[in-house]
């Protein structure tokens, strides 16, 4: 009889942890693929206005971003209280837009240059004077395709 002795009940078999690395790797790969690095750290307040006649910007690599708005509270001491332009990771003056656009163009393949779009991410409280200056600079450098980046919503939400 002792030959067919039953295993001791009560004691749980050890769980095989062999597949745990697989799970962790799966996670890791997922993150590596799905994570979109934020291109710019915002140094300004960027509360976009609302609009509902919007188009999507499909090709992210063909978009140049120009940010504008009041410096956020961390930078207020050094950058002042009035609205500023941000290009890449630093504050910029209006004159810096032209070299910025030219540098962005130089980095792209030649056949893609006509499709480049400039996305203006401008805070809703900014005065139009600054935006007008930006647009003038863009016109002079022939970057005519622009997109006012907005949030989806009714236009009358802007007036509150």
């Amino acid at each position: 009889m002792s030959k067919f002795k039953k295993k001791k009940s009560g004691e749980l078999p050890a769980i095989s942890t062999a597949s745990l690395p697989d799970i962790v790797f799966m996670l890791l790969f997922f993150f590596m693929v799905a994570t979109v690095m934020r291109q710019n750290t915002l140094m300004i307040e960027n509360k976009l206005p609302f609009a509902d006649q919007i188009e999507k910007l499909d090709k992210k690599d063909l978009v140049m971003y120009i940010y504008a708005g009041k410096p956020s509270s961390r930078y207020r001491a050094s950058a002042g209280n009035t609205a500023r332009i941000q290009l890449n990771d630093k504050f910029a003056a209006v004159e810096d837009i032209k070299p910025f656009i030219l540098a962005e163009r130089a980095a792209k393949r030649e056949e893609l240059i006509p499709f480049l779009t400039t996305a203006l991410k401008v805070d809703g409280d900014t005065n139009m004077g600054l935006v007008g200056d930006i647009k003038n600079e863009l016109r002079e450098v022939q970057a005519l395709k622009i997109n006012y980046t907005t949030r989806q919503g009714e236009a009358k939400n802007n007036l509150k």
Binding site: L57, M128, I146, Q152, L159
Partner: protein, 202 residues
């Protein structure tokens, strides 16, 4: 010896892992707002070239002052009336002879625009106008054009202009894209987006 079956893995913690993942995503995912109103800026102009002469009645002047008040054709207006007013102006079709507009459904008032292809909306803002007001006005004006284009799309091709543009971008669109492009061009020709922006006054 009796063959032992492999011990079963306790899958109870799998749910915990999945939840951990889910929560992580919920917390970290930021919705990128990369959509907006697309516009095309006019190319830089020589100062010597005189601007083209337009009939006063073909220009729809929208002014926004520094207090974000709207002045449309010299009359103060609320933002929610702007779309209606712009549609009325564009769709007026008051012209006769060469300027006659066959597809317009407006009042045909002689004091408003002759033809949608002639009608220009002129937007002027102050330097101290807030950007959000400007976007709101732009949005309403673009909406006016879109409404009229949708109407023409329905009339001529049985679907709205927005749907046509969506189809054009759709990879799985079954129909002929070249023909669709032509149709879109035709509607754009009927109601061209003529939105001029004057230099802001100081």
């Amino acid at each position: 010896m009796a063959r032992r079956s492999a011990p079963e893995v306790n899958a109870g913690s799998m749910a915990d892992i999945a939840f951990l993942l889910l929560i992580f995503f919920l917390v970290t995912t930021t919705i990128e707002t990369d959509s907006g109103i697309s516009r095309k800026l006019p190319p830089p102009q020589d100062i010597d070239v005189p601007p083209p002469v337009l009939k006063q009645k073909n220009i729809f002047v929208v002014e926004v002052n520094k207090n974000n008040d709207l002045l449309v054709e010299e009359v103060p207006m609320e933002l929610n009336e702007l779309r209606e007013a712009a549609i009325k102006f564009l769709d007026n079709g008051g012209g006769s002879g060469e300027d006659r507009c066959d597809y317009c459904q407006g009042d045909r008032s002689p004091s408003s625009s002759d033809n949608p292809t002639k009608a220009v909306i002129s937007l002027r803002n102050n330097r101290e106008t807030s950007y959000s007001t400007y976007i709101a006005v732009q949005n309403e004006l673009v909406a006016a054009y879109t409404t009229l284009r949708n109407r023409e799309g329905q009339r001529l091709f049985g679907k709205s202009f927005e749907q046509m543009e969506k189809d054009l971008k759709d990879v799985n669109y079954p129909g002929n894209k070249e023909a669709l492009k032509e149709d879109i061009k035709q509607i754009q020709f009927l109601f061209p987006e003529k939105l001029s922006e004057a230099e802001p006054k100081k």
